[in-house]
């Protein structure tokens, strides 16, 4: 027994080295990005000494500020709406037996797995058809930040639903029955027992939705129209004109924001049982 374990010495070493290589692979580009965001020189590839000047510059750039505002509006709307809809879908799938439940349960993963580009083309084609329909009644609609918001809602619902469903799966269904048994109406049983218990899952889903919405570039780039530029779309456009230290600074800030969101989301998704001292 111990003999076979000892022959794994080289494999052991290799696996340990591999882990370090993977860490390096993940984090060296991030380090480069962060370090060069503090580059005093305006030429990206040349180190011109440490400076924080690009950070204030980011907040003086009107284009960046307006893109940031668009991003926050889109993220805010899509997070709130997709959290409510995604949670409802998760509860419907988990708690009720209805026709097409299994199909819906599978379909909910679809936006998670289909490529962003496909999703983007889909949404664009969809909006084109809808606009044609609406325009025939008079009003004229155009692509803009609300079409971005709708598109983000479309994929965020799935992410929220998947996270909330996982939480519901850990919940003992007899808790809701106990509440009903103790004279709570269906709504009160949800409000006083189910919702407080799945709330960490709901918040985790919301933070994930927020992060995904703030990070999305492909779908937003397709359905933004004029004046609907979000921050990632701006960065993507600007980078084609050349990488500037300013972009490094924005990217570092976005990295920071989404890291905080995802870490908080993961923290909230922890198994509640492991919280015990």
């Amino acid at each position: 027994m111990s003999q076979t374990l000892r022959t794994g010495k080289w494999i052991d070493r290799f696996l340990r080295l591999n882990a370090w290589l993977i860490f390096a692979f993940f984090y060296i580009p991030i380090f480069v990005l962060v370090i060069f965001s503090f580059n005093g020189s305006s030429r990206v590839t040349v180190w011109g000494g440490f400076s924080t000047r690009w950070y204030p510059a980011v907040f003086e750039n009107q284009q960046i500020l307006s893109a940031l505002k668009n991003s926050l509006i889109v993220a805010g709307i899509s997070t709130v709406v997709s959290t409510i809809l995604g949670t409802s879908v998760a509860i419907a799938i988990d708690r009720y037996r209805f026709k097409g439940r299994k199909a819906l349960d599978g379909a909910i993963y679809l936006p998670v797995i289909i490529p962003d580009v496909t999703m983007a083309v889909m949404m664009l084609a969809f909006f084109a058809q809808v606009f044609r329909l609406i325009d025939s009644f008079g009003p004229r609609f155009q692509l803009g930040i609300y079409t971005i918001a709708i598109s983000h809602i479309a994929f965020n619902i799935s992410f929220v639903a998947v996270v909330v469903k996982a939480r519901l799966g850990q919940l003992d269904p007899s808790l809701e029955e106990a509440a009903r048994d103790l004279y709570a109406s269906g709504w009160l049983a949800f409000r006083r027992v189910t919702l407080p218990l799945i709330l960490p899952g709901v918040l985790a889903g919301a933070l994930l939705a927020l992060a995904l919405s703030l990070d999305d570039v492909v779908i937003s780039g397709f359905v933004n129209g004029s004046g609907g530029t979000t921050l990632p779309v701006y960065v993507f456009g600007a980078i084609r004109r050349g990488v500037s230290p300013e972009l490094n600074a924005i990217s570092t800030l976005m990295l920071l924001a989404s890291t905080v969101l995802v870490l908080t989301s993961l923290f909230l998704q922890r198994d509640p049982k492991s919280k015990q001292p």
């Binding site: 003992d172 007899s174 106990a178 509440a179 103790l182 109406s185 009160l188």
Partner: protein, 353 residues
Amino acid sequence: MAAVELEAVTKRFDNFVAVDNIDLEISDGEFFSLLGPSGCGKTTTLRMIAGFEFPTAGRLSIGGREIGLDPPNKRPVNTVFQNYALFPHMNVLENVMFGLLMQKVPKDQARDAAAKAINSVKLEALLNRKPNQLSGGQQQRVALARALVNEPKVLLLDEPLGALDLKLRQEMQSELKSLHSEVGITFVYVTHDQEEALTMSDRIGVMSEGKLLQVDDPTRIYEHPAKRFVADFIGEINLIEGSVDSSGTVRLGDEVIACASPAPSGSQSVTIALRPESIDLTVENERIGGAMNQIPGIVARRTYFGDSHSYDIETSGGTLSIRRDNRPLNTIFDPGQPVTVSWHPDASNLLED
């Protein structure tokens, strides 16, 4: 008046019949147990009384009022769940107050009533604990207090002792029994544990495959089972085939025996049920007085159980398992030894299938 009444109640899930045409009347203040193996329909029956499931057919009344389709929150019953189902985000006091607050009892009144209920299950020191800080037995008590504080007409208990260890289970059994006589509420108790049912219940209903096979007090259920399943499910028992002749005389092998009831007319064979502890063993040809059944046999096997010996005795009618307490001076029989097997006619029950 009947506390709970089921008339021809059936529950079907798609093609599966969980509860099959049950008639049952549970009287006011009774401790009634539904006993059966898992999947027999006992829990579904309880869930229909609670309102978590609705009957596919039949009538269901509580306290004389038909409530077949009322939601659980409109029924004068409360449930103690198998895993207690205490609300993990509320402390003991909040858990117990929940039902009262939902019934719109003013908050301070609810707090007083809840505190009293918690006192009665001796948990007053743990008011502010969360359920995950309590032991299994303490959680069990909170679940009881949370249900009883509402003073329901009927308390439903779904295998409430299943998760406790043996010693605690026995303690809770006697506590439940005394709680029942204290509060005077009708208890409907679901269990697969025959000992629990026998020790606590006023009456037991034995279920199998959705059917209610026999409803009787514990003594009759144990000593005079009506059906083969009931006899076999509860305790150990010898089930042996006997023959019946045209005059209705029952024979076990070559020996004529007397039974608790006459053989059904026209039958040629019957199943005879005989508890191992109701059979006596004596040395060969030693006759016992009274109207006992006595047949010869040979000891095939002896097993030591500490407090008793178990014997397999071969007779002309088949092998009988016999249990004899170990008391000083009791004869120990050896394998191969010829013996006389005897029992009172009342101990041999004829069973329907």
